[in-house]
């Protein structure tokens, strides 16, 4: 296969060697240069602020004091940093492993087998992405806490007087975060599995290999770059995640890098931006190393291209009687990822106060919290903002990253730069990004406090996710289709619009949907950037959580989840009508 590709190498492909600064600039296509300039303009000030803050003392009013190396010296003379680094690594790799495992199993069952009811899995993912993460994490604390139904059940079964397990621990964080990322993992992997040419699997089966062997040696191997890319993405995302470590880890005494950043900014008085900056720069360096590693991994991605000019048709495998087992697995997953978490939130939304799941509470149930949500105008002013924020961010990120990814995958001049730049926002823990962008927008009074500022920041924030969707999508398309287009006389732009876009459309639609759903539920960035007229719903939900109003929070969460599910189901139906296969 690789021999075939070697001989296919078109003369047009740019040689992969470094070019001098200005010359490379000039030889970049104007479009790529403009895109790179936009990205740099959007990110550089924030990066500068971050690095700068790590070298200065912070004064009481938040301005910079004297120059110092103190923050770095403290990092390395204190064993807390090392300890938290180890915690963060275990937590991030554990979560990534859990998420990938759940994602691979679902994606394979859905895309490559004839399991009954498999198309419903999409709904799991869409609902789950619509649940605000704070609420999702809380729902697992309800489920798995000391007084939660699972512990109660185990105590009853084992006759133990004390709770059987403690969710406020490292493994608790791993399980919760892993499950939270399972839908993302499924969505990304299903596009990988879907576009693998079934011919290889058929050949394997015909040569006498069983389903398991075929899955292990062919399907999984072909999906390898996608899986690895996703592994790194989830690792990084978990590494810099905040909600789960804060809500699950900190009460159990498990600290990671982000909770220390949080403590430096949100707990200490005055906010210690210096220490937070030093931590963030360390995070940045770690992520840079990971991204470099990722770049190395995807270098040989060509070997894995399977959508070629020859009759491409992914095909499903007949599992025979085993398909009922896989159907059972899907049902189980449905309950773990959506059924139980949403179920318990629904329960909490019906009772006047939550004190565990038991029969006595049934008598107290009412829709009172829903009444409160509707009569107290909780969505007032923020609903339209939120939908605009989501739609605008998604509409910026999806086409922008498709272009970036195409430049990168095809090794066009400037492609590598664009790829790295678009992945750069991953270095910002959300909480640091909020502060950094606050500084940036303050210097642009026209933008400060407007919805546009939040849209810009959240588009930047979700670029890396868009990149992974688009990258995975474009990686699968063999260049011979574009070469055919070029040979027939089409220009680069025409080729991109008429050949590449239609082929990556499903990936882009999923990308749009994903960015929409994550952008509308983000809290850390909008909370600082919003002004009086640009409030968003997720911040309201977060406020309710802070004030501990869990009944109304749950009612609002259920209503919001329903709305988001409607939006995304509607969107995918619409997309399907126009011939886009959104899975």
């Amino acid at each position: 296969m690789s021999a075939m590709i070697e001989s296919d190498k078109p003369p047009r492909a740019a040689p992969d060697r470094p070019a001098g600064g200005l010359r490379a600039m000039l030889s970049m296509s104007p479009l790529a240069a403009i895109m790179a300039a936009v990205l740099i303009l959007l990110m550089l000030p924030a990066v500068i602020y971050l690095v700068q803050s790590s070298f200065y003392e912070t004064k009481f009013d938040g301005s910079f004091g004297a120059f110092t190396f103190r923050h770095y010296v403290e990092l390395f003379t204190n064993d807390r940093f090392l300890k938290n680094l180890v915690n963060a690594t275990i937590y991030a790799s554990g979560s990534a492993a859990v998420a990938i495992f759940l994602g691979v199993v679902q994606a394979w069952i859905v895309e490559r087998t004839n399991t009954p009811g498999r198309s419903f899995v999409l709904i799991i993912s869409i609902i789950s992405l619509g649940v605000p993460s704070v609420l999702y994490t809380i729902s697992f604390l309800f489920l798995l806490g000391k007084t939660g139904p699972l512990n109660q059940l185990l105590m009853w079964m084992t006759g133990s007087a004390t709770p059987v397990f403690n969710i406020y621990s490292l493994w608790g964080m791993i399980v919760i975060e892993g499950i939270e990322f399972a839908p993302l993992s499924f969505l990304l992997l299903s596009s990988v599995f879907r576009s693998n040419d079934a011919a290889f699997e058929e050949a394997s089966m015909m040569s006498g290999a069983g389903i398991v062997t075929t899955f292990r040696r062919i399907t999984l191997r072909l999906a390898l770059p996608g899986v690895l890319a996703l592994l790194i993405l989830i690792f990084i995302r978990a590494f810099e995640s905040f909600e789960t470590p804060a809500l699950v880890g900190r009460p159990g005494g498990v600290n990671v890098l982000t909770t220390d950043i949080y403590a430096a900014i949100q707990v200490e008085i005055p906010a210690n931006y210096g220490q937070a900056g030093a931590f963030s720069v360390m995070l940045l360096l770690i992520v840079v190393v990971l991204l470099y590693w990722y770049g190395q991994l995807s270098r040989h991605a060509e070997k894995f291209q399977t959508i070629t000019g020859k009759g491409f048709r992914p095909r499903v495998m007949d599992l025979g009687r085993w398909r009922w087992l896989t159907a059972g697995i899907l049902v189980l997953m449905f309950f773990v990822i959506i059924g139980f978490p949403v179920g318990i939130v629904f329960w909490v939304s019906l009772v006047p106060y939550y004190d565990g799941v038991h029969m006595a509470a049934l008598k107290l149930m009412s829709f009172a919290h829903y009444g409160t949500v509707f009569t107290s105008n909780m969505f007032q002013g923020s609903l339209a903002n939120t939908l605009i924020l989501g739609a605008a961010s998604a509409s910026i990120v999806a086409p922008f990253t498709a272009l970036c990814a195409w430049f990168a995958v095809r090794r066009q001049k400037g492609g590598a730069v664009l790829d790295q730049l678009a992945s750069l926002p991953l270095i910002f823990p959300a909480i640091v990004m909020g502060v950094a962008y606050l500084q940036v927008f303050l210097h642009m009074p026209i933008l400060y406090g407007t919805l546009l500022a939040i849209i810009i920041a959240s588009s930047v924030r979700y670029l890396p996710y868009g990149m992974r969707y688009s990258y995975a999508g474009i990686l699968q398309i063999h260049k011979e289709l574009e070469e055919a287009s070029a040979l027939s006389g089409a220009r680069q732009a025409t080729t991109f619009l008429r050949i590449v876009m239609p082929l990556v459309a499903p990936a882009m639609v999923t990308c749009w949907l994903f960015v929409f759903l994550v952008a509308v539920k983000a809290v850390s960035v909008p909370i600082l950037l919003a002004g009086p007229n640009s409030q968003v719903v997720a911040v309201t939900i977060f406020d309710l959580w802070q004030n501990g109003v869990i009944g109304e929070l749950s009612a609002m969460g259920i209503i919001w989840t329903l709305m988001m599910t409607t939006v995304s189901v509607g969107f995918s139906l619409l997309a399907r009508r126009y011939g886009l296969n959104v899975r």
Partner: protein
Amino acid sequence: MSKFLRIPRSALPLMAGAVLAFGLIAAPPSIPAAAAQDALLYKGADRQKVLEAGAKKEGKLVIYSSLTVNQALRPMVQAFNKKYPAVKAEFWRGDTRQISQKVLAEIRANALQADVLESSGLGQIMVAAKMLEKFSSPLFAKIPAQFVDKNQLLAPSRFSYMGTAYNTKLVPTGSQPRTFEDLLDPKWKGKLAWRAHSESGDQLFVINVLQAMGDQKGEEYLKKLAGQKIVNFDGSARTLVNRVIEGEYPVALNIFLHHPLISAGKGAPVASFPMEPVPSIAGHLMIPKGVKRPHAAMLFIDFYLSDEGQNVLRKAEYYPVVSHIRPEENIAAVSPRVANLKENYVNVEDMFEFDKKATAILKKYFY
């Protein structure tokens, strides 16, 4: 590493351009020298008229506050807008840290938006940063004297009384800890929780003990208390009370005493106990340095402290700050003023004085 290192080089001209462009956009806007002091400290007989006329000219008002939006903040701002339709009042809700980050950043960038700030715990940050304007209102006379700030930088906006919450299923009323000494009973080992790293949580608990017992006896007591393995809870006071209701923790220290009362009113198995001396703190109204709309700001502060504003606060189950308006009946029982309990009001100066000491003790014995 070569692949990654290549970026800066090839992108160098772009970056230079970006910095240049950013520098141009970022040029600080000029600010008009605000003669705000006159309006903020105006005492003339025509005060109401002067403020209204000035506010009308300013046309707008921006409030940053951490009051709950649906119960208190929005009704308060709406009531103000109804009374003064010529001033368009807007609010932004954030917690203490978010307000301080936002407003300090605005001041540094010469782009101040906020005219009035309201939060608890924010006072000490803003006072230390020296970023507040002096102001005065005739309505200060209606607030008990000990809560009025001598430096004229803060006005109390709400009171909070702190104490113990306990789960009545796990700890039947009567057997709850009633004194500091009770907390040392071995039966409470591992069953007590407080909010760690919180000014009104563990920090205030320690300050209250130090003030009540003196530094030395206080530290000895806290050392013993550390042996009880108090759970360091990370989250809001209200959330901690919810955990007590769920039975996760039988007893919580230094939560807002009225929260359990509100839940108990709905039938939740929880009660509160004011352990004397009851530490109390105040939220504050403040005016940020360089305020752009001083007349509108003062008009709002007057409104907030008026009977009309205080009743909005009362209905939202906050404790009013003026003496002649009683809190809602369901939460009155734990107000030291109403229930005649020994109160220890910890003001901003106390917070400063004890902050380092309390943090050191917490780090040494509890974290």
